[in-house]
Amino acid sequence: MTPPTDSLAPEMTNSVPAISARGLVKTFTGRSGTVEAVRGVDLTVQPGEVFGFLGPNGAGKSTTVRMLTTLTGITGGSASVAGVDVASDPDGVRHKIGVALQEAGLDMRQTGRELVVLQARLFGLSRADAGKRAEELLELVELSDAADRLIKGYSGGMKRRLDLASALVHRPDVLFLDEPTTGLDPSSRLVVWDEVRRINAKGTTVFLTTQYLEEADQLCERLAIIDDGKIVTEGTPATLKAELKARRGLEADPTLDDVFLDVTGRRRERGAGEVSEVAS
């Protein structure tokens, strides 16, 4: 398959960070009280990077993504994406970003082609241009043969790839992927990784949350680990591992998982036949 030759992304200059967040805070108030989900996150992601955002369940990863993608209001601090302020110009941000959230939210009663065409038309493309764009993207994610089938018949991996395609209709500057491979089998996961690399190679900045440390190690140039609503470390996978090795005086090379457990103060325990993550 030959991928389309057009640029998927963007005219972002290198002087403007792809993503910038300063003191980002999100609190939720409910009947049971107030929960501070994100407690002062600072982030800078440069254009063209694949940036990983890691953390245990409930650490604030998805809430941070939802704030940066305008889906949830910001309680405190500020953020900009592709140079556009998230709070004051959410529509401006929406023009610049592509979003593929957890669980591949798709309309199961449409065909793959209808879904991508609809998404393209919502971004202002004419019916003819939307059709052409859908054709290109479905080919890119290798779904051309299944394009006219209802999405409810797609496998998990096909849904993820379709979600990716629909996030790219308007050639976004920044692509947000929230746990794009959760629940996928190993081979589908590799296909999604290839897609992410291909998309990034065409110039799109990728902000990726994941709970799979191997995924972060494979894909991300830099990453940040968030725990309890705060970023606890940030750097390239190599520097984070080297820093741990030097600090602990380890003989063997540590893995990213070792770094994760070290900075979050967690350890793995086996109970009832399952390995779970617990606070030390």
Partner: protein, 251 residues
């Protein structure tokens, strides 16, 4: 407007693919028309009941049937489904106005209601029901019923956005039944017992029903029709505003 049509087109496609969701919304109102007419037609014979204007009691009951059919919209339940599976977030992340997002499915409800009204009229005509106000009256009847469908579906969509729960949204749909029975559903308003008459006077559905009835039984009585359109327009405006406000604050 373009994005409203794009989203509306999708909702129409969805309705075509789920005919089993559409069929009861047609059959139940027709069932009520048959049962109500069967129960009361002998009490109100055409010849000796002046407010039937020479038509059968079924013609008097027809507005309730049309309003019931128009109040069975599926937009809100599909919206809850989309909220639950995450697709609604995908739509919210596009740069379209929140008004378009609210109106997309509602525009499809208007079209569905139009088709439903035409089908009900086509079923009613062979039984001798006539639209006294002629072709213009039929058009107004279809428009008014479609307007009510948009308003009531808008109300249910608001409940869906607030509760994000299918059971709560479904239950809210049942509110239409007490509203329907607090109208001059079986006899004109002037013949209702005093407490019922007061309740019907404060019930907006009364004015829509009276406008539809006027189109079917009387002719173009612009005063009655005008009030019906005003009430429906106000209801649509109110529910649309509630939808847009809720979507703007949606977290």
């Amino acid at each position: 407007m373009r994005t409203v049509l794009v989203l509306g087109e999708r909702a129409v496609r969805e309705a075509k693919r789920t005919p089993d969701a559409l069929l009861p919304t047609l059959l139940i109102p027709i069932f009520f028309l048959i049962v109500n007419t069967g129960q009361a037609a002998k009490i109100f014979p055409t010849g000796s009941t002046p407010w039937l204007e020479g038509q059968s009691y079924a013609a008097f009951q027809l507005p309730a049937t049309l309003l019931l059919a128009a109040s069975f919209g599926t937009a809100a339940l599909y919206l809850v489904e989309e909220i639950e599976n995450g697709y609604f977030d995908k739509l919210r992340a596009t740069p379209i106005s929140r008004g378009s997002l609210a109106l997309g499915r509602l525009s499809a409800e208007a079209l569905k209601s139009t088709l439903m009204t035409i089908v009900i009229l086509a079923i009613a005509f062979p039984f001798g029901i006539r639209i006294a106000s002629g072709v213009v009256g039929v058009v107004l009847l279809v428009l008014l019923t479609a307007g009510w469908a948009v308003g009531y579906s808008g109300f249910l969509q608001f409940v869906a956005l607030k509760t994000r729960n299918a059971a709560a949204t479904n239950s809210a749909g049942l509110i239409f039944f007490p509203l329907l029975f607090l109208t001059p559903n079986f006899v004109p308003r002037g013949l209702l017992a005093r407490p019922m008459e007061i309740a019907a006077t404060f019930n907006p559905v009364t004015y829509v029903m009276e406008a539809l009835r006027s189109l079917i039984l009387v002719d173009l009585d612009w005063a009655v029709i005008g009030v019906g359109f005003l009430v429906t327009g106000g209801f649509v405006g109110l529910t649309l505003w509630m939808n847009i406000r809720t979507m703007a604050k949606y977290d």
